[in-house]
């Protein structure tokens, strides 16, 4: 059991995160302050929720790029609708409407994919283009900074506050609770429900999953429902945090989120991926950014470092596979008799 943990991908990322933190911390002790930690968490939260949205799709064996557009249409659409009606209440209604729009948009992806037997990537390409276009044309093309009274204070809704000489007043943002709640739910869903296991089964071997009696279309629809719902949620959180509802929210960031999910140990071909790994994957990319800043390296190099780590992370399993093939371990009988 212990051995398995040591061999796991999550453990490897954790080691990298710890090593990186130690190096950065020794160069710049500011990294180890509570305020810095809270700030890191706050910056990671939204991307963790987005990564959660994408994770089940990746486990299922697909790559979706439309979740960012779904986040944009849900949050911006909700906001323009409510603001137009003079809404002054809190975020709860935003979440309800935003998640509903997101869920419906996600279901549309799922419907097209299952009904017309198409690749997830191709369909999401079409819907991402469509949703951004829809938002910009039908809803509005400019950022909106009007905040209902109940939303204004959200960016500083801290569970615990700290005052830091460098970062000023900051704290553990309330969105951390969402991440924990969603994370636990998703973990439970993936590990303890039959639908969750079905997602892994389909990602592992689609034909066998069908033969075993998993209802592939239904499971696919649920996966995209979750994707849309969480994307809508992440969109609202991000917009409220930045006090700016933006029709092109997250545009161009879909591949960054995908990179975090992959760094977190999910397999692009499906069947593999965990909630913990995904959280660590996002945190790793955020830490790299901070690490560069704190060690006086311009933050612009972040992408470079993430790219190099990504190359290493994707090349290692590929090289391992290459070796295995070269060894030619295909003769089952010989293997079987070795054990006998």
């Amino acid at each position: 059991m212990f051995k398995r943990i040591l061999k796991s991908n999550e453990f490897l990322i954790l080691i990298i995160i710890i090593a990186l933190s130690l190096v950065v911390g020794s160069i710049n002790p500011n990294f180890f302050t509570i305020a810095s930690l809270f700030d890191l968490i706050r910056a990671s939260n939204v991307y963790i929720i987005l990564a959660f949205a994408l994770l089940p799709v990746v486990i299922l064996g697909g790559v979706d790029i439309s979740f960012v557009a779904i986040a944009a249409v849900s949050s911006y659409g909700t906001h323009m609708f409510l603001i137009g009606r003079g809404y002054e209440g809190g975020l709860l209604l935003y979440f309800i409407i935003g998640c509903t729009i997101g869920a419906l948009a996600g279901l549309l992806n799922g419907l097209i994919i299952t009904k017309f037997k198409l690749e997830v990537f191709d369909v999401s390409l079409a819907t991402q283009t469509m949703w951004y276009g829809f938002t910009l044309f039908f809803i509005g093309a400019t950022s909106n900074f009007d905040m209902p009274e109940g939303v204004v204070g959200y960016y500083s809704a801290f569970i615990a506050k700290v005052t830091d000489e460098n970062l000023g007043v900051t704290g553990l943002h309330v969105s951390t609770i969402y991440v924990i709640v969603i994370g636990i739910f998703l973990w439970w869903f993936l590990k303890y429900t039959m639908i969750g296991r079905g997602i892994y089964a389909i990602g592992g071997n689609r034909d066998v999953a069908e033969r075993t009696g998993f209802r592939i279309n239904k499971i696919t629809m649920i996966v995209f429902l979750i994707m849309g719902l969480l994307s809508g949620f992440a969109g609202v959180v991000q917009s409220a945090l930045s006090r700016n509802f933006n029709p092109t929210l997250f545009i161009g960031q879909n591949l960054d989120v995908l990179a975090s999910v992959i760094l977190g140990g999910a397999a692009i071909k499906g069947g593999k991926g965990t909630v913990i790994g995904t959280v660590l994957g996002v945190i790793l990319t955020q830490i790299i950014r901070r690490a560069l800043v704190l060690t006086q390296i311009p933050a612009e190099w972040q992408k470079f470092v993430v790219g190099v780590i990504l190359i290493v992370f994707t090349a290692i399993p590929a090289i391992r596979e290459l070796r295995r093939k070269k060894l030619g371990r295909t003769t089952n009988l010989v293997e079987a008799t070795e054990e006998a």
Binding site: M1, R4, K191, Y192, T193, M194, R197, Y200, A201, G203, G204, N205, V208, A209, E210, R211, T212, G213, F214, G271, K272, K326, L327, G328, R329, T330, T331, N332, L333, V334, E335, A336, T337, E338, E339, A340
Partner: protein
Amino acid sequence: MEEELLRVEGILKRFGGVTALDDVSFSIGKGESVTLVGENGSGKSTMIKIISGIYTPDQGEIIINGKHFSKMTPIQSIQEGVQVIYQDFSLFPNLTVAENIALNDLIISGAKTVNWREVRDFAREGLDKINVDIPLNVNVGELSTADRQLIAVSKAILAEAKLIIMDEPTTALTRNEVKALFKVIKDLNSQGISTIFVSHKLSEVREIGERTIILRNGKKITDQDAKELDIATIEYQMTGRHIDTSSIKYSKPKEEVLFKVENLNLSHGFFDVSFELHRNEVLGITGLLGSGRTELALSLFGQKPAESGTIILENKEIKINSIFDATSNRIGFVPEDRIKEGLFLPQTITNNIAAKIIDTLRNKLGLLDQKKKVRLGDEWIDRLDIKTPNGQLPASSLSGGNQQRLVLAKWLAFDPKILILNGPTVGVDVGSKAAIHELIRQLAADGMGIILMSDDIPELMHTCNRILLMRRGRIVNEFLRESTDEEDLNKELIADDDNGTSKRQVEHV
């Protein structure tokens, strides 16, 4: 007869223009053991898929436990107690042993959530029932095929199946494991569980089945007590012909050694393999799945290069460390799995034929000579009698036999000195099969050296001059076609092969 469990009535199934099953009916009693026999393409697999609800028959119905179904879903089939163990074992490589064993039960019970402790207990119970010990927390992808098979069996037993269908379950097992499996099957039968055992190994058909059903070209040919059938009869009814080799004109090998390998080794593949191939000879290499014949073929073609040993072509030592090495020595290879390894299905027939020799189809400017390519395609379509309206249609439009000719055409266009054929007529209809055999003999007579890997005994008898038998990675016997007959060969092929074990293992260590 015992109480009836399952009856299929007038099943008809078509795929496009091909009739896979034509008005097939039979029934199976409770606790009965039936073997379903037929050549590749006879409709066996389609029949299984219909009983398990994966295919819907175009006509006919399935009566199981007294319930009538004209359409049956996989879940309904499972709910009625049908369990199929496929050749791929239907396992998920990315899930643990425990989960793989328990998943079926969870689905049937309609569980919404998973209790992992119960899953493990359940899985352990299943493995205990067949008396094996496999770690429960390991992913199935990391296990050997034998272990996977055991998991598949325990899975089916745990599913409280009323009918277990096994699709060629013995191919990857040792004789002892087969014996153990047969014992398990007989136990099951005595508990009132019926079994359908799909096989084309004739000795097993007689050993395990109480009743034998033979399919041929989608039709039911025989349905009778296994004891009343002898191997020759089964064979005749499977193939629809008596094998008579007296009228065949075989190629006559010369003294000259064309190709020679000495002490070839590949760990996990084969050991100390040596043989000679004469000019104009068709050399058969046979052995069960896992005997190392496929690995040997792949090695000779450079896909899995041998680790030691020498290879001599026309008295010159050559090195084969890559496919490029093999083809530059004019060695060709027709792979076993023509869909995955041989064909570019959606590409045109002409492109498929040109794939190997495309570099020779250039004009003076170094550009691809389209006309030459089309001419080449038409020439080979004509020469191998590939049945198609024109060469611009995709390879997927061809029937199995014609697809196989297409793979052959690709290599013949290359004009190899040595052609290695691995299972050249798997899934090919009888007519095409004979034509391909004729072609193989002809090619040898024209001077090509041919190495034919196959476990299809009649095929070997129809084409080869000499046949080598491989077992556990070694060549253990050699037969001259003239001085052997099919039954001997068959017996040797499936013979008790435990004798060789100790010897090999010692050397392997």
